[in-house]
Symmetry: D3
Subunit: 135 residues, 6 copies
């Protein structure tokens, strides 16, 4: 049998800058270029969250995507949307908010809270750059 | 060697309502909310069908995507496009047409009919909700 | 000075069928083909609503797009989304819900209710078909 | 004869906050909600710039879109991309960077610098919100 | 009353090179750069064709978009799709196939053949470059 | 732990024709139809390249996507963009440039050159047809 999953796409707008605490100011500028701007820049992030499983034989859902949307909204969007990730989101106080680190933080936030098995997180920083986590 | 697949994307427009025969009318309204509207609503479904294999050494195709398009058209689109899934498509007489059940029905219809090994079906109900089946 | 407008995009999912009361059943089938299916089909409609004007010198808004979203939600989406346009929306009891007629109805609903001058309505029935109303 | 124009689309990523100098802190919070976050948020802006005219009878161009891209890059993108609009871009020191004001500033920057008559600027703040300036 | 139009989007894939007969080989290389490659390059062109008018009071159509699709297919797509514009399409034997010239040729082909008043042609050469003709 | 990857999307425009050296002219026309046009046609190819690994604990990158972009540009885009694949790219002198063969060639070019483990290549020939290679 093929593996079955369902996915919900959401979006949030946030400011960030890339800055590694373990590097000097000079090394940060060389490593991250304009992404290191001390005044921040920002993105329209697009996020897809997938859960895998069998469809409920009566209901026909692997999981209720409107319930997933509610959980992603309260756990991620309410904390990330229209925020400065470096300042307003505690997880990034000591963690560089690269697209892969943001995806990892979202995975850790969601993995025990969804009605089903979290199987994939895709996070687009721009239409040209994204990170994927999947089991 | 990496696994190789080729994919064809098609679309169909259909009406449906979500309704589980095993639930009371009241439970259906609570479970499915506006998706349970007895007069139906509808979607522009987007469908991607993938087959996997080796490219033919002479032709250079894993499979002929124009042939796949013809088969998907005759087996799926001619039966689903501009239809009411609940009424016009026999597979959903007793099966709730959730996005995951529609994807499963499409998999079952196509898996023995394509020139190659069906490896993935992706079905978008909206740009924000989709189901994936993959081996 | 160039003309300035701001636009909000929203979406709704609805069932409909094309059927002209002034034509015979046979003429309806010939005119509208599969769109005349008596059991309905459906679409993910995308809607853009624009207002034109001068930006407020203090606030910097031609109009508050979040206020426009609220009005479009209460006046259009709450009445059209997850509905059967022919049955559930009184404006289409005696009016064929073609993409141009739906756009005209939306214009008439919104033109006196928005904070600013309604200047454009674009309605996509599919990514390939749309209607535009503009002054 | 129909009017002819050619368009180039580019993008930039920037942080901003909405804040009107003429309003109290309290009024700013009420007017702009989460967009007033003092720590900023951000967007992937998409920008389309159009010029209108007759095609050169030898060359076949209304204007050379690669030249337009160079000018938009040096005049707009190099100054806006990966920046904080409120802090790093002098035009917004005393001007609220709403989508309509950013579009107006871009129009003023470009109108005398392009090889042809600037006829339209479209600026998307998100896929759901945009401003248009056109003659 | 606002102006009403309906639009159909289609696509075609074609090879071309930019080359002006009135310029030397050297001037062509300088003017058009890689677009002057003598071996051609190519694009997935996206085309939108709009007609304007009043909706028929019985039918509800400004124009039948499926009829427009048939005409655009036979008059444009059957002649341009999977072709080399410079070699296979007589209109470009002595006319440089820039995006604006292709749009002008399409306008001239269609303007007397559509069921309604042709009001707009938009032609995308890439998602970043397009031409618009409109009355 | 879920598998982590990061992806960069780029694009190139190229002409090609499908033609198998091992088939007669007649068999080529039957196999490839309009794609066999001896004068070529073309596409806007979209390419996604993914690498997988652990994020560097100091930097926070699985791989630097701007470095990946530079390598993909010099190794693939500078050789494929605005080219005729059959004539200008030596890899296709004796290999039919089907979407799966182009993806395979890109995989072979890139697999030892990227800063990280190449895990996925997706190549869209059109928005409706694509090939995927993945480990």
């Amino acid at each position: 049998m093929p593996k079955l999953s369902v996915t919900r796409r959401v979006h949030f707008n946030a400011a960030h800058r890339l800055h590694a605490d373990g590097l000097s100011e000079q090394a940060n500028r060389e490593q991250f270029g304009p992404c290191n701007n001390p005044n921040y820049h920002g993105h329209n992030y697009e996020l897809e969250v997938s859960v895998t499983g069998e469809p409920d034989p009566t209901i026909g859902y692997v999981a209720d995507l409107s319930e997933i949307k509610k959980i992603v909204t309260s756990e991620v969007l309410d904390r990330f949307d229209h925020k400065n990730l470096n300042i307003d989101v505690p997880e990034f106080r000591n963690l560089n908010p690269t697209v892969e680190n943001i995806a990892l933080v979202i995975w850790q936030i969601l993995e025990d809270k969804l009605p089903g098995t979290l199987s994939k997180v895709v996070l687009w920083e721009t239409p040209r750059n994204h990170a994927v986590l999947e089991i």
